[in-house]
Assembly symmetry: C2
Homo-oligomer: 350 residues x 2
């Protein structure tokens, strides 16, 4: 598998053209935009994986003169309702075929706005895990009062987590946030219900010890309020808690909209204020939309996989492709492997 973008070698990104709710149009449109904005004159090529007819029909809706692409046909589609474990057996799906291209060395990365659970399970099976990584993980970027976001992981891939898993999430999260946002020596916090080392479950107390002994920049336990404050660059927690907080955060927009609507209905003055406020509020809440960061990486698998929201806009797809290229260029996985197996090594029993 190619891991670096050199002048002589083509970097190929397989894109699940059937993944999102607006597939394949948003996928095609996003890829075209990526070539207009970022990949002009590059050695990058996108491989659309999915229904060839539908892909060609979508292509013809746009000017795709700048696009460098190929198409790999796939008959089947994994929907959002498909069970992730069953999806692994749908070998003619765009999701499976796209990942297979990477596992067989025909692509350097895979991008999908499809069924997250299915991407996770199929990636783990087809690509395997990076040596030393116990569990692949999905994180999410939260806005913070600092200039860079707070990276919370896991947000749903791993419900029950051992201390070792949480420690590995911290290692992978640190490498990701350093490479993606240029944060040197990222501050790592352990999500807990108090600052003291003795707080929380046994697993959290054990994780605290692992993190304290590591070479990571561990700042100790952090609380729910520290995510948006930006107290830490990387916050680790089990996937149940991370998922609850992520979905809670995403629901603020709807809550706020409904509050603004009932406020604006009270009188004509309020209606005017609401009108003035609207674009500003939209801007703040866009920060909670993880499409803005161009999807999130699946960390810990032996390959590059970017997962987007089902509702991904063309802009989100565009940024997911850009993110995938960056991850290949930055050799994130080599860095994770090195960190997990040597740099951050604590003891052989861990």
């Amino acid at each position: 598998m190619a891991t670096s973008n050199t002048d002589t070698k083509v970097m190929r990104i397989a894109l699940d053209a059937m993944g999102g709710d607006f597939a394949p149009v948003n996928e095609i449109h996003g890829a075209i935009k990526a070539f207009e904005d970022f990949f002009a004159d590059s050695n990058i090529e996108v491989i659309f994986v999915g229904d060839e007819k539908k892909i060609n029909a979508a292509l013809h809706q746009f000017d795709y003169s700048k696009l460098k692409y190929s198409i790999v046909h796939a008959d089947e589609v994994i929907t959002m309702h498909d069970d992730p474990t069953a999806a692994v057996r749908k070998k003619n799906s765009s999701l499976y075929k796209g990942l297979e291209l990477q596992s067989q060395g025909y692509a350097d990365a895979f991008v999908s706005a499809g069924n997250t659970g299915a991407v996770l399970s199929t990636s783990t099976i087809l690509l395997g895990r990076i040596k030393g990584v116990s569990r692949p993980t999905i994180g999410s970027f939260f806005p913070s009062q600092k200039s860079t976001p707070c990276f919370v992981l896991d947000v749903g891939a791993n419900i029950d987590c051992k201390a070792k898993f949480l420690y590995e999430f911290a290692v992978m999260g640190s490498i990701q946030i350093k490479n993606m946002f240029g944060v040197d020596n990222p501050r790592v916090g352990l999500l807990n219900i108090g600052e003291e080392e003795s707080k929380g479950s046994e697993v959290l107390q054990e994780t605290y010890k692992l993190l304290k002994q590591s070479k990571l920049n561990f700042i100790g336990n952090v609380e729910g309020r520290d995510i948006l404050k930006g107290t830490a660059d990387v916050v680790v927690c089990d996937g149940y808690t991370g998922n609850v907080v992520l979905k809670f955060a995403e629901s603020f927009l709807g809550f706020f909209k409904s509050a603004v609507v009932s406020f604006s209905k009270k009188n004509i003055f309020n209606l005017a204020v609401a009108g003035i406020m609207k674009p500003f509020l939209k801007k703040i809440f866009m920060q909670f939309d993880y499409q803005e960061y161009g999807g999130v990486p699946l960390l810990g698998v032996n390959g590059v996989v970017i997962i987007g929201h089902g509702k991904s806009s063309p802009k989100a797809i565009e940024h997911m492709l850009k993110r995938a290229v960056e991850m290949v260029d930055n050799e994130i996985n080599m860095k994770i492997s090195k960190a997990i197996n040597t740099d951050f090594f604590i003891d052989s029993e861990r």
Copy 2:
């Protein structure tokens, strides 16, 4: 212990006068306001528990002509930094003495803006648990898009929860929200990462079964986004997750303030918009301030205990006292005992 407010019997509420960050002034002021606004011509009396001199000095800052009160002196104060387990041994503290008044039948309820962990542990020891209740719990009221709030419990009292505990939280939460907000047949949701019964940890799957078999109005699994949506009236989860979400929600105000400040600094027009928006935003975010609901009840102990935020304002204290009186009047504990032991009974092995 008196459990009902009749014409002939005095209802006594013990108030931890030394509990909050602004004690005893806010406590005294809040009590005076309660008598002005709610308890005029009632048979209610407040017992200030704490340093007699300081209490008297605070009283003289106000017109307390409407107040019906007595003072029980307590030498010691449990601070926010005291370890909850150590606090149990501080028998001369206002917190301990106030709860002792209730356990010995001299008071019908206890109200404190002090150390939550200390109130929890001391209440459990001095008052005991309601028969059939495994763990006392603390919930919190979240604003929702519905007219009544969403009651999330537990929010920090119980880190590791068995299915039985979560089930009991659902029973207690339902009774509380019905009595406090007049919600008939409250909808109960189990906080999870997907709707399907098979989602989440083993404990959550087991809890799902218990709730489904019960007479509660169980609407199934709910996700993080459902709290603010108001999909359910009562949302149950372990105290770790509830605490993280609560503190995350409380931090939105700070995040938003900082976003508004940086927005208003951009130009004079933005500054004007920010000025117009401010009172409105304040109003929305006030909903996330649990003082507005007058503190939260400690459910499952054999008595009435209301816990407030350390920063409780006089208004918050006032509402906490009102809440305590309502809980005594509504005989919440008798209802919980009945529901846990008979009405919602599933099987003897539970």
